[in-house]
Symmetry: D2
Subunit: 452 residues, 4 copies
């Protein structure tokens, strides 16, 4: 694993592996093999040469540490790699060694390799997202009628359902999956421009070779080389950034709900997971931890990538190299975040009792608004509001349920008594009734999310 | 103009106006008017009430500074605005005043208003981009056969055409226009969720009211309220960020080419434009200045927006407010950048003579690679390379043209003399021949860009 | 107020005023007046000319909007300002008008003006911090013995005191005040370099004029002009960034403690402050809101400023202009954050009862670690730990106090009964006893903080 | 090397080594050893136990990959490390194993270890800076009288000396060294707070143990544990950020001067360094590349660290972990940047001839301002300016030297001929004369920089 210690702490092997040194270097060899084969297919080089080249395009044949060390000096990773590859091919065929890397340039190799690794990373991420979404939709359905507090500005507002809350978490993930695929289908593209992006070294074969390579490598065929035109490439990063934000939003809510004082939702308990031997009550929200840490770091990576877009002329100085170095961490991070939440929601510990208790603890105050609406026909909007304000103040101060205070007030006023039905008052204060609107929205939206 | 002094310095009025205080506040009133009309259309409130409300939804009727001052205290801008609106409506109709803002919440007003202002900003930006793209495509066509140095890592590499360079600048802008429109068509959406996003206050009319409002305001109808699900909204910002990067790339190249020592491309001269009274030779690249400054600032705004995605529960504390404050500057900036470059490329000062002189000053060294290829059949790849390396060293040291040195070397060696044609050598060193590959790419790509 | 609407919403007038358009432009005039006077004092220009210049260096004499509009075109704000000033002076004295702005350059004016405005902003901020620190130290002393839960990873850990928590909030603010003053004493410096930073236009008077101006304007005298050497200047911004982070940390804790389910600390109630007419229980933490929003935005401004440091050659293109535009918002933000928290802690609503209740609700589990330590001599470290783990599991599952379970276990085991004193068990579970360590630290640290 | 491939490409081994996995883990063991020894010295534990613990605090005894793998699951790196250490100690002494890590917490270990590694990184960086500064000061002295163009907004302005330009690069580095040391002397501090930062587990020995440890480890003794008060720690990062900016400014100028068309300064030529076998004229500025890439990335790391300051309560969730992961890259980057430039300036290729040629190519236009000043006494300020503007226009258009045009104009006008001395005109256009002001500043500032 070629990830620094404290990055590893946030990212499990599955998330980091697609960008591991060996994976990246193999992807560079995959480029060289595909280039040779495509040129053979186009008649540019003999098929036997292509075969000789491709047969040694295997990372395990080379000393990766030596390659990495040479790269610092050369100002490029592809230069030592191509040199070693050429040397190795020459051991078998001088003719083949003369056409290694033909018509290509360092950036072609490295950009394409990065696209290949990103492709694998996103494929794996997509599967994780599918799993997470499925868990969340199941969870949402189970709790479509579980009332809980909706909170605005971190204060209780009114009553919603846990099911709708979960649906709200899920919908962006469904969108992210689609948008990420779209962006990847355009942005993860073959790079093949040659020294200055004109494909001069490929002559009239440029089109055929490009198409063949893109097909073989499973990458998009770009409208043109994109050495210093990074927009489609960056859009893939932007989508990863948005996804990290969506996962971070879930992590935020999860961390807040998992507070012992709130206690509505906890991460699964498992041996060695977020525990503390000394404090058995402690179940640290380590899934939320990862989602939050990634959401914290990701915007800065996105900004670093955007900031590197001003790549000078036909190949950037400093900008492109900064971009390459920033790129993997972004995808490793968002992958780790999705994995962490998928683990959490594979077996979440939901506590409808605590959700209900948190509503009840507010003495009915969260129903003050519909309560006022109930009285408005009789008292006018302003009058109803004034009365409820006064009753709510009493309830908050003394801890009496607002429902009782309101019933008493209705009874005490003959006009109100006539106009307002006690059963209607009861309904106003019933959490199950209160979540009708949430249920309506839930039912309307679920099918589309299930279908996606 | 409600933009701080040094922001104004970077942004002309056209760019800032869509988000001016008055524009934002009018957009909030537009929301309230559209809400009332939609509720009337749905039969929720009397048409006459809707009329009464809509008739006073005009920013010029209110004291904007007082509204802004009250907002700090209230923790929301919509609260004082709705209060003032209700009061004003009540002067005409008590009944109508009772249904002002019905079923809606502060965030509904502010998010929708911001979407409306962004809509106007993007419409204007689209027109600027269209103008810039048209200028660039014309410029590209004029210079499809103008040879110039391609530069990698800020050093001369080989020969390309200025036309292809301009085409490379243009293609991302064409893509950005499309993608920005796509993102806006989804992300600039009506916000109408009510207190906690359940549309409880709209009851069964929620769907009809939402559709009516979205239509009337020219905004997308979202799958659901998006109080704390900001992904589609953020995607619009991401696209603006990518566009700023693409424009910044042009600004970078422009600033580099406009250096007096390079002198290949300058900004138009105009009275009072980037001049210096003391130094008449000075033509400061003020268009590039704006594009670069915006490209410098934009990634940080994008990051700030992404960083605010972790909005807690059903309405964020600090996060949403930070997002709102960061939002306009992003769009004002990218708009200003596009305007600045549109001005530059309305009348760019292109110097093909300097482009040619910069090629010639390299004594043919940029042709060393094809020159070696020409000799390779006779000398082998390695032998040809060694010879060219030696000749290039001589050329670089003594300032002799490599072409002459190579011709002499060919003449001096009987085998070479026989194998290598002098005319072929001449072609290798001809910049016009060298840009054949650039021309091929140019011809292939131009039609699609023209069509877009 | 020249701040966009949604920035104003986060920043009260006091925070924004030092960088208001009029303040910035007046500061530019202050530079010109000080320059003229210093040159007169040095004998470079006649005193009467200096007087004539200084007498019209008053922002209210000029059309600020026209100046701002001209700046976009000129690529500089100082150019139109100096032009207007020269014209105005010439109405009184042709001789004086010939020496306006003598030996200076646009960047001299704008950088110095920004330093002056920052000076005023920081002076005001310092007073706010003094007030906030005083409130916090008082609060800390009042609660030096108030037990509350310490929380790690957002889960209850052990018992600390609210006083120590407040002290922990305060200490960084005390440091920030000192460091900010230090950084400002070096970084808020006169800029006077002339066209290319060599002070060529001041000749041998350069030293004397610089000293005189720095004195008169209350700015540091820098070791040299700093047109493109921004390190000392940036350090002031870095400190503001750190302060925003320290205030944001307080805002985070405040928002968490103010959650109704936690209920340990609320913002002061005041008419129109963070309220909701419909929900009288709602007291939105609007102070925390501002501190959090600023903490969210500030890192990105700091990054933008750092990113602009690569200013080219002797004056930057795009970089310097981006820096100027980013600068004020950073200081306005941190100022607003400090003001918001100073308001909160002028009258915080502390609830020791809820702090205690939150401890008690954990059934003594937070004392499991010292409880195990008490049994370790008798059972060995491992044995004690195993027993406590088991008892804690029982307590967590059944809601029985761990203290009782442990007493029972001690009683049930003759060996333990002999070794462990019941009073000692009681002490282990006493929150007041538990905060002894917190108290020790509190007493050691308070004097230094009071003294600062 | 535990750095991802493309990070390694930017950072040589020297820069990355202080934060390598093995270094970090050894630093964690150093903490545990120092803790045990300090507790023995304070009489808290037997000296023999401390010895037993310290004797196995050697990273090479443990399976580092297993530790890293366990950390992801445990949500902490220290937990598996302490577990393994305790187990290993227990093989020798049960008594000693009972006091491993006594009174400490995971964050104590990890923060202190990071401080230790940062200490080593900064010591190495300081030596590199000393070397770079020495090279730059020598270079500056050699070129104190070498005239070159000063450039503002990337356009030629007037004449300065290369020596002063180099001095301007150097002064911030001298300041950075001092400030970085200051910040490190406070911010690289022992972390020893125990579970919740109260040092409860150390009882009355807390002070003695802390002092002893800080001394032994060569770290600052903080005023208090700083688990969630990161200001002093962050200030070290801020200084690294500022330094990266200062180095990036040099990289910017270097890259611009190394352009072939400018050709004033190139990086040293060395086999395998920034070369291109095909293009022998190509000497890629790989030192500038690194400095620019680091300057591009660093602001975002700084922002990520600032953004993580809002650490919740007594230990952060997500925030602290994000900070730890971001931290090393910042220091590795700035270290790599300093190394890259130290290499460049060990043997820079300075071309005074090209500097002079670039001045001469402007036909004297850069002297238009002093030329106008020379004529002003005779023609008035406005008249002189108008004449020069006209002459400059002619010079720019026709490529005639302004000096000749001015001499002709003086000769042609009897009044001017009388007032203006030809020798004075000559002096105005003499680059050596023009750099007098630069020389004055140079002489004033050099001694202090040499002394530092």
């Amino acid at each position: 694993m070629s990830l620094p210690l404290f990055d590893r702490f946030l990212a499990p092997v599955d998330a980091a592996a697609p960008f591991d040194d060996i994976a990246l270097i193999q992807a560079m060899f995959d480029f060289e093999a595909a280039l040779a084969r495509a040129q053979a297919a186009a008649g540019m080089i003999p098929a036997v040469s292509a075969g000789a080249i491709a047969s040694v395009c295997k990372a395990e044949l080379y000393d990766l540490d030596a390659l990495a060390a040479a790269s610092t000096r050369a100002g490029s990773l592809a230069i030592p790699l191509v040199k070693e590859l050429t040397h190795t091919v020459s051991l078998y065929s001088a003719e083949a060694s003369a056409v290694v890397h033909k018509g290509s340039t360092s950036q072609d190799v490295q950009d394409t390799a990065m696209a290949l690794c990103t492709r694998r990373s996103l494929d794996a991420l997509d599967a994780v997202l599918a799993r997470l979404i499925a868990s969340l939709l199941d969870l949402a359905e189970q709790h479509a009628d579980t009332p809980m507090l909706a909170r605005t500005l971190m204060q209780p507002a009114q009553v919603t359902s846990f099911g709708l809350k979960v649906l709200n978490w899920t919908a962006p993930l469904v969108r992210c999956r689609t948008r990420l695929r779209d962006a990847a289908s355009r942005g993860l593209a073959l790079q093949l421009g040659g020294a200055i992006g004109t494909q001069a070294g490929l002559g009239l074969h440029a089109g055929a070779v490009s198409r063949h390579m893109a097909d073989a490598l499973g990458l998009a065929l770009p409208a043109s080389p994109w050495h210093t035109q990074r927009d489609e490439w960056l859009r893939v990063a932007m989508e990863a950034g948005v996804l990290a934000g969506c996962l971070g939003k879930i992590g935020t809510d999860l961390a807040l709900m998992a507070q012992v004082e709130v206690g509505e939702l906890s991460e699964p308990a498992a041996p060695g997971r977020g525990g503390s031997s000394a404090m058995p009550h402690k179940r640290n929200p380590v899934g939320a931890l990862v989602a939050l840490a990634v959401a914290q770091r990701t915007p800065h990576r996105v900004a670093a990538l955007l900031g590197a877009m001003g790549q000078q002329h036909e190949r950037g100085l400093g900008t492109w190299q900064a971009e390459l170095a920033e790129w993997p961490g972004l995808f490793i991070g968002v992958h780790a975040s999705a994995l962490a939440l998928a683990d959490v929601f594979a077996a979440p510990d939901v506590r409808p009792d605590r959700m209900r208790r948190n509503i009840d603890a507010l003495h009915g105050l969260v129903f003050a608004e519909p309560a006022a609406a109930l009285l408005a026909p009789a008292l006018g909007k302003a009058g109803a509001h004034t009365l409820l304000e006064q009753l709510s103040g009493d309830a908050a101060r003394d801890g009496h349920p607002l429902e009782g205070l309101m019933l008493a007030a209705v009874q005490a006023d003959p006009a109100l008594r006539k106009a307002v039905d006690a059963a209607a008052v009861k309904r106003v204060f019933d959490p199950q009734v209160a979540l009708a609107a949430a249920r309506r929205q839930f039912d309307e939206r679920l099918p589309a999310l299930r279908a996606a």
